[in-house]
Symmetry: C2
Subunit: 398 residues, 2 copies
């Protein structure tokens, strides 16, 4: 195992993910040297040194020269037991999109939290990370999903998976698990990014579906086995969901939903921030509508619109159109004349001209054409609408 | 009566509203001279000359030098009979905002229709036009309104009227009439802009509410009495609704709704284009969501947000916030430490540090503070959450 890989694994265990202090140090002196520093407490803040000391002690590893090797051996054994592998930036399958998080970290003061890229990922599932995430979109949202949100998440995830997109989410109750299930139902790939150890499926209610995701897709996390999920960890985890994918779709979100943080990361990382509009009367769409008011957020109402955002150039959604109507083929003058023809009582061409506000000549010239097209019939006393006129009689466009 | 006023009245009768050809001529030679031209058929297209001839004939007015005076006498008598007045750009109460339609007309090729300002308006109702439209917003939408759209239109119109805004709409079934009713219910001003003569209330089902609007607000139209509504007239009328107000709110709209044309005019005239998001599963919100994807369209979910768009500088909507939580007052480090404290089983400060990924010193320093604030209690064997801890125990933010 390369020193770099070994060091990143150990650092992933010893330091809470996202640490900007550690990230800066690694970028400055490299991972092996950074590991020596944090274990020895050199060139790092007392807070970081103390945190590492606490982790080493809790793991029962003594602070000798072999501490890192001991730790990595423990980690490797544990990964084997759990049917998991550990992936670092030193590995071929590392998703380099995650390295963009250095940008977020640099501007991280906006987010008021540590947002450096992960040191390592614990992974269960056969696909290579790079393959699974090549065309990936994240779909996240409220745990307290409504029937509306469930319908939308399910349909969108199914449709995206069917078109070969990997659906990434957080494995939580509500929108997350509905999105995972939708992708599985389509026989597609789905990736659950956890905020706890890979040995524990949180929430317990989702254990079954998370097992299935590990079998058919990927379950991954930055945290070592045994780690409990905490609120701050969910928020830290969200940066990985945003960074690993080309865009984030928030299906439903309350005003304080954690899903909004995923969208903020997506925006910061120049991924596509997308939201699904919903009833303004629904508390579970409030967060979506707040985000919609942010410049650049894209409202999405169909799978095609999501793909238009994140797909290749030219993967455009078809415009939504009502059914074509026969009268669409008429020019403005003809339409105006046709509008002035009554359904039953015939009018002369002159009366029609006066009502339509066109010249008698224009009326006389166009009425025979309208008759030929089947819109009107001429009677002895003038023109009326054909009984089977193709025109819809409602005057207001709807 | 000034020549200008007289000429505009006659032109409003003789030429279908919106004519760019007429508008250009009036701006070039003035209304009186333009009137002479169209009546004599000089310097105008055969189409316009023919249309005017047809209208004169239909009205039974001979093409003499007195034709215009005869016509205006007829119009004035009819207006008196109907309890209406005729307002032109030569009158004090003319809403000059309508003159912006010259801009739309200039760029009118986009809209493929004639969009010149009205020549005259037939008005019923006591308020002066300028007063009623000083702070006005239009609210329009589908005739086939859903319960959702009815609720929203009603609430928004009521709220806007309550805050002194005039609600302008088209008097149609569905969203329009709901908006008018909402404003009336608040004791506010509302203006119905019709696409037919002021002597006929279309649709008949709305006759009652249109009478009430004429009593308490304003009913107005460009078309002379006796004119029937037609599809093209609805679309022509929509430019007045957009131009007369500071912004247009589309509450519900199908993909081909005429309300979308009002929004296009609002955009073209630099009024605020606003839409209400709705369920993506509702056909009656499809038009809103299509418009939402156009750059610059503002999604609105509360009356305050509408006013923020169209009101004075500084009339800002309060941000939507979830209830404050006690733990919001904690800094990031304290929150992380608190996250690692368990509800029942006490943990030592060192264990808490290891779980939270912070130093033992940071844990030891902050835990007493968290105890003081009532979040945790210390026991012989460490810290656990206080039974009445103010913290919400759900790990995921929602």
């Amino acid at each position: 195992m390369s020193d770099d890989r070994l060091a990143r694994m150990a650092l992933g265990f010893l330091v809470e993910p996202g640490s900007r202090e550690l990230g800066l140090l690694v970028r400055e002196v490299g991972a092996p040297e950074a590991l020596s520093c944090v274990v020895a407490g050199h060139a790092v803040t007392p807070a970081l040194a103390g945190a590492v000391r606490a982790r080493l002690e809790a793991a029962g590893v003594r602070r000798t020269a072999e501490a890192a090797a001991d730790l990595v051996e423990l980690m490797t054994t544990r990964a084997d037991q759990l049917g998991a592998r550990i992936v670092t930036a030193a590995d071929d399958e590392w998703p380099i999109a995650l390295d963009d998080l250095v940008l977020a970290s640099r501007e991280g003061s906006i987010l008021r939290r540590d947002t450096d890229p992960p040191m390592c990922l614990w992974v269960r599932g056969a696909p290579r990370l790079t393959d699974a995430l090549e065309r990936a979109v994240s779909m996240v949202g409220a745990r307290a999903v409504t029937g509306y949100g469930e319908f939308v998440a399910s349909e969108f995830a199914f449709g995206l998976a069917e078109k070969g997109w990997t659906v990434v989410s957080g494995g939580a109750l509500g929108v997350d698990v509905t999105a995972h299930r939708g992708a599985l139902a389509a026989g597609g790939l789905t990736v659950a990014v956890l905020a706890c150890g890979i040995d524990r499926y949180y929430p317990a209610a989702n254990a079954g579906v998370l097992e299935r995701i590990a079998d058919e897709g990927l379950v991954l996390t930055e945290w070592p086995p045994g780690t409990h999920p905490h609120k701050t960890r969910f928020l830290t985890r969200n940066r990985v969901i945003a960074a690993a994918t080309r865009g984030t779709v928030v299906v439903e979100a309350g005003s304080r939903s954690g899903a909004r943080s995923t969208l903020s990361y997506a925006r910061l990382l120049h991924r596509s921030p997308m939201v699904v509009p919903g009833p303004i009367t629904s508390a579970m769409s409030v967060g979506c509508h707040i985000e919609l008011r942010v410049q650049g957020t894209v409202p999405v109402t169909r799978v095609e619109e999501i793909i238009e955002e994140i797909g290749r150039v030219g993967e455009l959604a078809d415009p939504i159109q009502g059914a074509d109507r026969p009268e669409d083929a008429l020019d403005a003058l003809q339409a105006r004349i046709l509008d002035a023809v009554r359904p039953r009582l015939p009018r002369s061409a002159e009366e029609i001209a006066a009502v339509a506000g066109v010249s008698g000549r224009d009326a006389r010239r166009n009425l025979p054409l309208l008759e030929e097209l089947g819109f009107v019939v001429s009677t002895g006393s003038g023109y009326r609408l054909a009984r089977r006129s193709p025109v819809s009689r409602s005057p207001e466009e709807e």
